[in-house]
Subunit: 476 residues, 2 copies
């Protein structure tokens, strides 16, 4: 541990970069805007993928793979879509040594290329619904890189479905939103608000965008997943039609939805501390690390044996490793595994051996619990479950404590600067009020909750009548 | 089944395309050279990935992810490498609305960008070995597309390792070659020859390239995987150095290795027939399909129930589905699942129900075996194992029957045209002889076996003394 992590209190943004690079989750690449996801970061992504992929498949979705390149003209077929994405595109102009007749865009998202295929594949109501997901890389040009949170290239999944009716498409969009919400809470231990984006914040080409929004430790919100009801916007642009049971031709109703490697950034910002990463047990590539403590050679022999036995016993049920290195001290090892966010450390020294126990130490708060060697597997299972639960509870308490009612615009502005967080505030529904608040405070409407927010009130900015409150926050 | 598959005897190349597109494994995309991998094809790729990934991890490798884009200047750092790859590159010249200062190449392979990172990460012998693999898309410009076999964009894995000694690097290269060989045989039921590439056929930048080579039904060889010993070529070009135990600075020894979605094309060509795909059980997304046969409503009720029960019983152990559709006949279903290559079909009609059995039909040869309902799970397990084994045996017999000794150049040329296959032939080792044979016959040296080929003989072309025979074939 030659380097020291900048404390959050000193510089939150540097703290984040220090944690990500020093834990070896990711690194900057020589290509501007692009990151390298190192083995620890990629293992977290694999854990995220595995869990989400299972949930997508359980709900009837299949994976497929569509081309990286999109003809520039395709992007132009849906008016809002091109306006939203064209400025961010990387463009291939040469291939195989020659200039291309038509430039190709590196996909910023795949609606256009996928729906061109759907228009070929879908003919009849019998072909519906089409429930396809893709795991892929996408590119959106960025000048100011932030590892995981804002990079030119990132990894994601994008679901693309086609349905016979508007109601089915809406059902799909909400089903996915619920998968995202439960995944964030159950696996990432990260509570979120869910709701609808305003017209100005929705996906370019969507009818409606639903989202999950999380709160980071610095009081800024982070959009962690989106689920779009595309209506018939793209099916009209790409002529995706089917013959109904009654023999009529109709355009399909579509959805698209995605989460990305941004989730890893959210995971870091949600749980990490000044000593490094804090990973929730369900997504941690290593859940348990065993660190032996010895002085004499005799102690070393007996303690290494106990550590090796423990690994054997725990391996079938947990992702476990023992750190038996000789060249570094136990304290050095503690620091290293704390930096890398391993949820549970099992220490074993001569006294523990005497008492026939391991000393378990939780990464999240260093709380110690002796675990008898005779009930190691059950003890570890219980501790990991408890950590997962406690991380979520801690996140919930933080979210509650940092969600405030805002009724006075001046107070709202002060609190935004001083403590941040989410603000429940009434909004009249006017894009002008939304824009002025954004321009003046950098706070945006993160989402309009789907329920529980219908009540009479007065718009935070203009004071005119409002029938609903929404969540405001500054965001990543 | 509106369309008919062109028989192999009529047009082998069209047969292949028909099988791939009609089974819905893949489709052509509107972007020249790029394919769409449809859910059936992608599920096969997922099965391949899962199995290989497990083997890589068991041998100590970790996954990571490096940028899609490579600065053009990086490609130029290794002289042979740029010569090999520059002509095939797609080039990004514009990003975010502006012309780039330095064009970016879309990775055709990632040695250069990965080793630029290694030079930053590796400092000491303690950092070695680095054993990293990446699952990614790559782009090599192609004008004549062949689904899975030759496409501008394809999916693959690329391993990139760094070692302290030459011996360790060589051990790694051979370990991976063995993983590829056993994977091809055990999972794909596709026997292969293994060996070394000649200087003219090796990877651009490698010291030595090892490969696995399979034989397709039309008598052409297909390179199915490569494992490269890079020596210190790239570590010198990218200055990847480490301090040895003794405190000296030394360049690392490197390897890279990969297989791609090309394997899916090999799988099709190895086993499919004029009725469609034939998938080996271990890689088949659906291993068992149950097709009920009924006439009356009463039969339908009892038989659907038996089918549903069978699905419940088999589901925990196999990838199984029942086709209970009403709108198509059993015969139509047989054709569809044969087209899609499902290894085992379980038919159940009124007579089978009376006998309390299913009639199992093997896709590979339509051989029928009654399976008592009372021992369904064991019966299906046995049949699937047998199919896997028989497919491999069939492949082995085909490979044996189509590997010939060639001692006479004229006979060799005739046999190449008439029956194809592999030819064991002596080669003097001269690049001139190799080139002339290639120019005159389109046959190349597929590999120099690692053992069993040392014997005195005379070069197939020039007749001068040779100490080894090699495998010649025309190839994809």
């Amino acid at each position: 541990m030659a380097k020291v992590i900048t404390p959050r209190s000193e510089d939150y943004s540097r703290w984040y970069t220090d944690v990500v690079t020093q834990s070896q989750m990711a690194d900057y690449s020589p290509v501007k805007g692009c990151m390298v996801i190192r083995p620890l970061g990629y293992a977290v992504w694999e854990a995220i993928q595995k869990e989400l992929d299972t949930r997508f498949k359980e709900t009837g979705h299949q994976n497929a793979y569509f081309p990286l390149f999109i003809p520039e003209s395709y992007l132009h077929k849906e008016a809002q879509h091109v306006e939203g994405f064209a400025p961010e595109c990387a463009v291939v102009t040469h291939g195989g040594g020659s200039k291309l007749e038509e430039p190709l865009v590196v996909r910023p998202t795949s609606e256009t290329i996928i729906y061109a295929m759907y228009s070929k594949w879908i003919r009849s109501y019998r072909d519906l619904p089409v429930l396809i997901n893709q795991w892929a890389n996408v590119v959106r040009w960025e000048m100011r890189t932030r590892l995981f949170l804002r990079t030119t290239e990132f990894l994601w999944q994008e679901g693309h479905t086609a349905h016979a009716t508007e109601a089915e498409a809406e059902e799909e969009v909400l089903k996915i939103l619920e998968i995202y919400r439960t995944f964030a809470e159950e696996q990432m231990a990260m509570p979120v608000y869910t709701g609808l984006k305003t017209a100005s914040e929705k996906f370019a080409g969507a009818l409606r965008t639903y989202c999950i929004e999380a709160l980071m430790q610095d009081g800024k919100a982070l959009q962690a997943g989106t689920s779009h009801n595309l209506g018939q916007n793209f099916s009209r642009a790409f002529d995706v039609k089917f013959q109904t049971r009654e023999g009529e031709w109709a355009h399909v109703w579509q959805t698209s939805w995605g989460v990305s490697t941004r989730l890893i950034g959210a995971l870091v910002m949600a749980h990490a501390d000044d000593n490094g990463l804090v990973l929730p047990p369900r997504l941690a590539p290593t859940q348990v690390v065993i660190v032996p403590i010895w002085k004499s050679d005799d102690e070393k022999a007996r303690i290494s044996e106990a550590a090796a036995l423990a690994v054997e016993e725990l391996k079938p049920a947990f992702r476990v490793r023992a750190d038996l290195r000789d060249e570094v001290s136990p304290g050095w090892k503690f620091n290293e595994w704390e930096l890398k966010g391993v949820p549970l450390r099992l220490e074993i020294g001569p006294k523990d051996l005497e008492k026939d126990q391991f000393m378990a130490v939780r990464r999240m708060d260093r709380r110690k619990t002796p675990v008898p060697r005779g009930s190691l597997r059950g003890g570890v299972a219980g501790l990991l479950e408890e950590i997962q639960k406690d991380l979520l509870e801690k996140g919930r308490a933080f979210l509650r404590a940092n969600t405030r009612d805002a009724t006075d615009y001046a107070v709202f502005k002060t609190q935004l600067d001083e403590v941040g967080g989410f603000f429940r505030a009434h909004w009249c529904g006017s894009p002008d009020c939304e824009k002025r608040i954004k321009d003046e405070t950098k706070a945006t409407i993160r989402c309009i909750p789907l329920e529980g927010n219908r009540e009479a009130g007065r718009c935070l900015l203009c004071g005119s009548q409002s029938e609903q409150w929404v969540y405001f926050a500054r965001a990543y």
